[in-house]
Subunit: 149 residues, 2 copies
Amino acid sequence: MEYEDPVEELSEAECRRLLGTVPVGRVVYTEHALPAVLPVAFEVAQDGRLVLALRADSTTARALDGTVAAFQADVLDPETRSGWSVLVHGHAEVVRDHLAQDGLYDAGLRPWVGGPRPVYVALTPELVGGRRLRAVGATAAARPAPADK
Amino acid sequence: MEYEDPVEELSEAECRRLLGTVPVGRVVYTEHALPAVLPVAFEVAQDGRLVLALRADSTTARALDGTVAAFQADVLDPETRSGWSVLVHGHAEVVRDHLAQDGLYDAGLRPWVGGPRPVYVALTPELVGGRRLRAVGATAAARPAPADK
């Protein structure tokens, strides 16, 4: 049987475009020597950096500051088992410039949950990769198990 | 102004229950000395282990085998900014027992994308935590910026 691979590797340009279509992703950082994963609101700045919006009291922002972090976003449809997933690695830094902070706030970028004035963390993408999962895979998976299994 | 924290820490029991309500999560492992994040189909076994379904040719399964890995799942509603997120750390091991493999296959557990016969990885939860985000936060975030900012 000819087998069509439902996984397509995405170009960096396509990954960056897809990141701009979702309001939330997941930042991966190290906490107590273990990987932590936190959903976080973000947007793609004009210069290509990802700006994450965190609560003012966020330990995550402190843990991220000055490190190389990973950031992941996806859109997945469990019905068709299609979608995409993008993974970015890059240097993260708390945005300390007050004008930049005000600009981001005025543009409406807010943490996923409310609370006091947010902290923004800028992540400069250095490695960008992703994959698209086409629904053809779902069709194959939905077939009965082969008799010779 | 009284401030109601919209973030609620979840009990381990509630985290485990929530994990059973979604078909896909994200496994975090180390690849080329960097954290990698991959969406993966999974289910919660009766003994509480998470069983991840990966493609037979998965480098992820090989990378996970015998390590301590993180696994994250969430349901997030961008409209109301409510939802939940659960993070698990535990020992991961490829399921090598053929009877166990057949049982998982017959029960319908399949990788997110189709392809050849899957590889299953069992993750034994050692640390389990999570949080629920209540929509009250969204209301606060939607208020106009305070005049004194």
